[in-house]
């Protein structure tokens, strides 16, 4: 199912000549790409937002307001999933500040994590984070980096049954503990798994993504730019290939990298993080109109390997 944003709104918030691919400009109505959460069939936009490092600005009002503008751009361009964690310093509080400024957009899909070794602290940590976000309940609560998942997951499942959460998940990153994660995915009832997946880190394709499809688990891809390293390197070395511009409407490397990630059938959403409005615009544009097919994905990987 596609959600329609007017060309005018896209042009207004993304800047016409710099960030909009010709194909998007030509379209009558750019199509925001969404994918279904397998456990509920709820549609969410394929480009979300991470907050690792980017939203941890402490109590500096100027920086909080700057991050508010980034979040405003995110929502104006159709964003939904926003991901955070207690590990991310003041990010949750800054999100709460920004959401208050933006009057809590309806399209927010709030995702946070439990990150404590204290087995008895699951509910407290969820509530603590919710208070910082200034929200009543989370859409998704995840066990961060598998930390004490044996104790936290049952509590989160119970909270879901009680209506205090909508979805339950678990996360890893940097390709860590994939074998253990597969075992958890086969055994536990999970709505979401978050893992690292990008053009140069595709280990998850081997087992995790197929298992997710088999078990009906939504996948959130973190580090789509490999923490910024991948996109910075590409920007310095080469321009976006002409064929990618022509066939996929990829004007920027953000387009290229994100479209690759979210075009995998098992991936529900990617969560790039940024501190800049311009980069947020680039990120969100990638979630419109065209996704590469299998042949194009192969070409994309070969292109990167050749660089």
């Amino acid at each position: 199912m596609a959600s329609r944003f007017s060309r005018r709104s896209i042009l207004k918030f993304a800047g016409a000549s710099l960030f909009i691919p010709g194909s998007l400009l030509a379209a009558d109505s750019p199509r925001l790409i969404t994918k279904a959460i397998p456990s509920s069939n709820e549609q969410i936009p394929v480009i979300g937002m991470g907050t690792w490092r980017t939203f941890n600005v402490g109590s500096d009002l100027k920086l909080q307001l700057a991050r508010t503008e980034v979040l405003r751009t995110f929502f104006k361009l159709g964003g939904g999933v926003v991901d955070c964690s207690p590990m991310y310093g003041s990010s949750a509080s800054v999100l709460g500040f920004a959401l208050n400024q933006l009057k809590h957009p309806d399209s927010l899909f709030s995702a946070d994590k439990v990150w404590t070794r204290d087995s008895a602290a699951t509910r407290d940590e969820v509530q603590y984070q919710a208070d910082r976000w200034n929200i009543d309940r989370f859409d998704l609560m995840q066990v961060h980096n598998l930390l004490n998942w044996q104790d936290h997951l049952p509590v989160l499942q119970e909270m879901k049954r009680q209506g205090q959460l909508r979805y339950v998940g678990i996360t890893t990153s940097h390709g860590r503990r994939h074998d253990e994660l597969v075992r958890i995915m086969m055994r536990e009832q999970l709505d979401f798994v978050q893992l690292t997946y990008n053009l140069t880190n595709r280990e998850a394709e081997r087992r995790l993504l197929p298992v997710a499809q088999e078990r009906g688990i939504a996948i959130i891809a973190n580090r789509p730019y490999d923490g910024g390293y991948l996109i910075d390197r590409l920007k310095k070395r080469a321009a976006v290939p002409e064929w990618a511009k022509a066939e996929l409407g990829c004007r920027t490397w953000a387009d290229y990298l994100l479209k690759f990630v979210v075009s995998h059938p098992a991936i529900t959403c990617a969560i790039p993080a940024t501190t800049q409005v311009a980069h947020m615009q680039e990120n969100m544009i990638a979630g419109y109109d065209f996704l590469p097919d299998g042949r194009q994905r192969l070409s994309m990987t070969r292109e990167i390997e050749s660089l």
């Binding site: 690792w52 600005v57 310093g89 930390l147």
Partner: protein, 225 residues
């Protein structure tokens, strides 16, 4: 263990610009206390030079407490979840200085030429750390000052310890500043702030010096206080 699967980078949840911004806000919050701290620190060096070690030690306590609560707890804690533990460490250092000074017999003890020279250089480095920060390209508002920020405070303290202490007191009192500087050096490296190299050099220099002192003392016997 789960923690072994993380790299140090995973524990730095902020970017360099936010960190520099924090340093600036701290400077704005506490100015002109910086000048008072510099004067106190110069006084400490002068007192140690005149072998008035107890008075010098007592003057060290407030600058460690100010960093513990003024910077680490009040400001850094906002960005960095372990900062409350760092604050506790700095408070413990203040307590260690106090307790070791109270039991000190105040006899003078002999400090060699090398230790005195290294100690003076490190003390001067801690005092002039704002200049070092400037050389490494930090903006003027984000310079780090003794008694306000932990790095120059730790470096200065190590310098003073090296040219005023020996034996168990030296080892005990240099532990926390050294541990802090190691953490700081790694943090600065993750943030790609170039002064991490100087911080690391300080630690290496001090450790080598202390090992040398310990070996000398083992072969010659400790100097009594």
């Amino acid at each position: 263990m789960e923690w072994s699967r993380y790299s140090f980078q995973d524990f730095i949840p902020f970017t360099a610009d936010v960190y520099l911004n924090l340093l600036q806000r701290v400077n704005e919050a506490y100015w002109p206390l910086h000048i008072v701290n510099v004067l106190i620190s110069i006084t400490i060096v002068a007192l140690v030079w005149k072998s008035r070690f107890k008075m010098a030690s007592y003057l060290m306590i407030p600058i460690w407490l100010l960093v513990a609560f003024g910077f680490l707890y009040n400001f850094y804690n906002d960005l960095y979840w372990p900062s409350r533990w760092f604050s506790a460490l700095f408070a413990i250092q203040a307590l260690l200085i106090l307790s070791t000074t109270l039991v000190w017999s105040n006899k003078t003890h002999k400090i060699g030429f090398v230790s005195t020279s290294v100690g003076l250089v490190l003390s001067a480095l801690g005092l002039t750390w704002p200049l070092v920060s400037l050389i490494f390209g930090l903006p003027g508002g984000s310079l780090e000052w003794i008694g306000i920020h932990p790095d120059p405070t730790a470096i200065f303290t190590l310098g003073v310890l090296v040219f005023s202490q020996t034996g168990w007191r030296l080892i005990l009192l240099m532990l926390i500043p050294s541990v802090w500087l190691m953490i700081s050096s790694m943090t600065l490296q993750v943030l790609m702030l170039a002064q991490w190299s100087v911080v690391l050099l300080v630690i290496i220099l001090v450790v080598l010096l202390v090992i040398n002192k310990m070996v000398s003392q083992l072969t010659k016997g400790f100097s009594e206080d």
